[in-house]
């Protein structure tokens, strides 16, 4: 059987690895659609034919269950994201904190309205007391994937992205600062079974697979913490 | 001619500074010339008849009612053909396809004329595969005429169809128009500024001024009137019916006898003894003498009676109507000559006719 999964953009690279392993193991098939958590949520609320939703936060899966679009009680955390201040320029900074407190130029973040990683980035700046001074320097991408492109193409000097993306980056040396968890609310990423997938064996198998040790190992390997 | 064999047209239509208001009763066969100054409404009248211009009114053509107060046939259902003042060939179609455009849309059993005939009459064969943009002005006009003829219309509207043609082409085409008129026996409304063309072709004349009809009538009758408002001027004249009595091959002349005398004119190949012909005698070609003078080049000398004198039709010029037998003639003379010769009604004179032309 086949399941369609809506996946938060930060999880794109990891998802590809997981899918191939899953399909090998179970013979089921998984189709993934990527986007910012916000956009996927809006689509699901209006009937998008997804079976499973892998969000980048806990809030939106909860809201889906509340609106009876998702199966109540099926929500669980599958990963905890780590935020990284990243630049493709290896000489830009050693210590990200210092860099931020200096005079950073254009800084890319995810759109806080749609990408949980964007919310986390804002929280970091607020906790550092830099939110107001840096605001004019911020450019935001719709999803965290787009944010990453801003930095990867050199148009933004640095940006808050997902650690998984940095690990997947095949470019040359870079500057990266793993943001301490204390500077933002945990990026607890939740999965939930949607009504449409309630009777889909592949969807259920997928969720079981995601909870499983093998999947969790891959997720950790890519730069997430696991619950 | 019964009521239903005529064309009756009553139209009213208004532009900003111009109003058309006509009530016409025209013969259902032959050529009617529509005549009048630039801007007097000739084109507008034809457009009303074709249904291209919406106008209040009434239109019946032969036995068909084309427009009433409550109903108006759409243009494409009126079996007419229209040769426009500005040729409107379809630029995306070859000459051949232009010519056949209307032909193809006429049911086969209603076709009375073949494409080959028309190509031949109008000399179109070498042009068939050209695109209209590559034609000269006169060539375009001939194609437009051919395209209209090929619909075998029941009424033909022509808006200065020959204006871009040279004398020779005109002379080549006119006989076919005449033949067509006779073959198809359809009425033709013909707008032209050429008085010579009108005098030659028309059977009936409509004279317009500022959107109104100021005179209408059969050509012969009207032309022989000295008071007529047609400003044919130099082209005033009469048309008379006669029969060829003799052909003089040596001098390429032939003699036409008519009620009132005989006239010599240039012989043409298609004429032969016994044929009926129409000849045109222009008023400007008729002079008057009190005696017969045979020692001069003018060979048509006819005794006649002065029937009417219209003095000063234009300053310095008078028109004199003469009767030879029962046949009226017009002579265009200076008023001084009229005075000098002391012409009076009923007086006997000799008409000297310098030139006589076949009318068809």
């Amino acid at each position: 059987e086949q399941a369609t999964v809506a996946v938060a953009a930060n999880f794109t690279g990891t998802m590809t690895k997981l899918i191939s392993l899953f399909e090998q193991q179970t013979g089921h098939q998984v189709q993934a659609s990527y986007g910012s958590t916000g956009k996927l949520y809006a689509q699901i609320r209006h009937g998008a034919p997804y079976d499973v939703f892998l969000a980048a936060d806990a809030e939106r899966p909860r809201l889906l269950a509340e609106h009876s679009v998702a199966v109540a009680g099926s929500q669980f955390p599958y990963a905890e994201g780590r935020l990284v201040l990243w630049s493709r320029n290896p000489d830009l900074f050693r210590d990200g904190l210092q860099y931020l407190q200096g005079e950073p130029e254009r800084l890319a973040i995810g759109n806080p309205k749609t990408a949980p990683y964007g919310i986390a980035a804002i929280e970091v700046l607020e906790n550092l007391g830099l939110a107001d001074s840096l605001k004019p320097k911020l450019v935001s991408g719709d999803s965290i994937a787009q944010t990453f492109q801003f930095v990867a193409t050199g148009n933004a000097h640095a940006g808050f992205v997902a650690q998984a993306q940095v690990r997947a980056w095949k470019g040359n040396k870079d500057s990266a600062w793993l943001v301490p968890k204390t500077l933002h609310q945990p990026l607890s990423q939740h999965a939930i079974l949607l009504n449409r997938g309630a009777n889909n064996a592949a969807a259920q198998a997928w969720l079981e697979f995601l909870k499983g040790a093998k999947a969790q190992a891959i997720i950790r390997e890519d730069g997430y913490d696991t619950p | 001619m019964s009521h239903s064999e005529r064309i009756q047209a009553r139209f009213q239509c208004h532009f900003d500074k111009f109003g058309l208001d006509v009530d016409l009763n025209l013969p259902g066969s032959g050529i009617t010339a529509i005549f009048g100054h630039s801007g007097c409404g000739k084109t507008t009248l034809l457009r009303c008849i074709a249904g291209l211009q919406t106008a209040k009114g009434h239109l019946s053509v032969l036995d068909e009612l084309w427009q009433t107060a409550s109903h108006s046939w759409p243009v494409h259902q009126r079996p007419l053909a229209y040769v426009f003042q500005e040729t409107s060939l379809f630029p995306h179609l070859s000459v051949r396809k232009n010519l056949l455009y209307g032909y193809r849309r006429v049911p086969a059993e209603q076709r009375k004329i073949t494409p080959e005939q028309v190509y031949d009459w109008l000399g179109l064969t070498p042009l068939l595969d050209r695109m209209p943009a590559r034609l000269s002005g006169g060539e375009r006009q001939r194609v437009a005429i051919g395209r209209a003829l090929l619909t075998s219309p029941r009424l033909l509207l022509m808006d200065e169809p020959l204006s871009a043609l040279d004398q020779q082409s005109k002379q080549d085409i006119l006989p076919y128009l005449e033949r067509l008129r006779d073959t198809l026996a359809i009425p033709v409304l013909y707008v032209s500024h050429s008085t010579a063309e009108v005098a030659r072709l028309a059977d009936h004349i409509v004279m317009m001024e500022r959107g109104q009809v100021v005179a209408q009538g059969p050509l012969q009758e009207t032309l022989a009137r000295t008071d007529h408002p047609f400003r044919l001027e130099e082209d005033a004249g009469v048309i008379l019916n006669g029969e060829i009595a003799e052909v003089d091959d040596r001098w390429t002349l032939c003699k036409v006898v008519f009620d009132g005398g005989e006239l010599w004119l240039r012989h043409h190949d298609h004429l032969s003894s016994g044929m009926s012909v129409r000849v045109q005698v222009l008023a400007r070609d008729v002079s008057i003498s009190l005696h017969e003078h045979k020692d001069q080049s003018i060979q048509n000398l006819l005794p006649a009676t002065v029937d009417h004198i219209a003095r000063e039709v234009v300053p310095g010029i008078s028109l004199v109507r003469l009767l030879a037998g029962g046949t009226p003639f017009l002579a265009r003379l200076t008023s001084r000559s009229v005075h000098r010769l002391q012409l009076t009604l009923g007086g006997q004179v000799w008409m000297q006719i310098k030139s006589v032309a076949l009318a068809d």
Binding site: S33, Y34, Q43 | H76, Y82, P91, H92, M131, A133
Partner: protein, 225 residues
Amino acid sequence: MSPEWQAVWLTLKLAGITTLLLLIIGTPIAWWLARTQHWLRQPIAAIVALPLVLPPTVLGFYLLILMGPDGAIGQLTESLGLGLLPFTFEGLVVASVIYSLPFTVQPLQNAFLSLNENLLEAAATLRASAWDRFVSIAIPLARPGFLTAAVLSFAHTIGEFGVILMIGGSIPGETKVLSVAIFDHVEALEYTQAHWLSAGMLAFSFVVLVSLYTLNGRFQPGVVR
């Protein structure tokens, strides 16, 4: 079929069907707009142009609402037993048609406006009915307009993205068109694939466009005088 080819095929199918529908729908609208003196002319012309103004995603969003289970269209299609349109190929077609309508109507309307009225009148006197005149005179003479309308509509549908993402999701073989596929590659940092697909798409479009234009030039009646 590889997912890539699937996307290409889906895209061409979508663009083809959309263009066809658009020409069918757009032609009478453009004809009417070009020739009527009705007071509704300007308002209707404006309404036709409106889809242009809305950001595609926003348009998509509203279509999603309209076509969704609570929306007017959604209820209609459900009551007709057609199910819901969003996230189906048919839904994409409907959305693309609405979105690209102005690209069809505007060029056609201009082409019809510049038609020489004399030619239509001449055709009428040559026994051509209104429909006949339209087919035999108006359409051939408006050919550059049709070409432009078709190219703009086709290309625009191929490139369309916001609306499709919104109401299509990206379901392989059903709604995952090329633009979405490229986008996915970009977002997944698979730049090589993205580059290849884009280059292919560009090359293909280039060839199609050049052939179309050349063909059109060939048949041009020709501005000779």
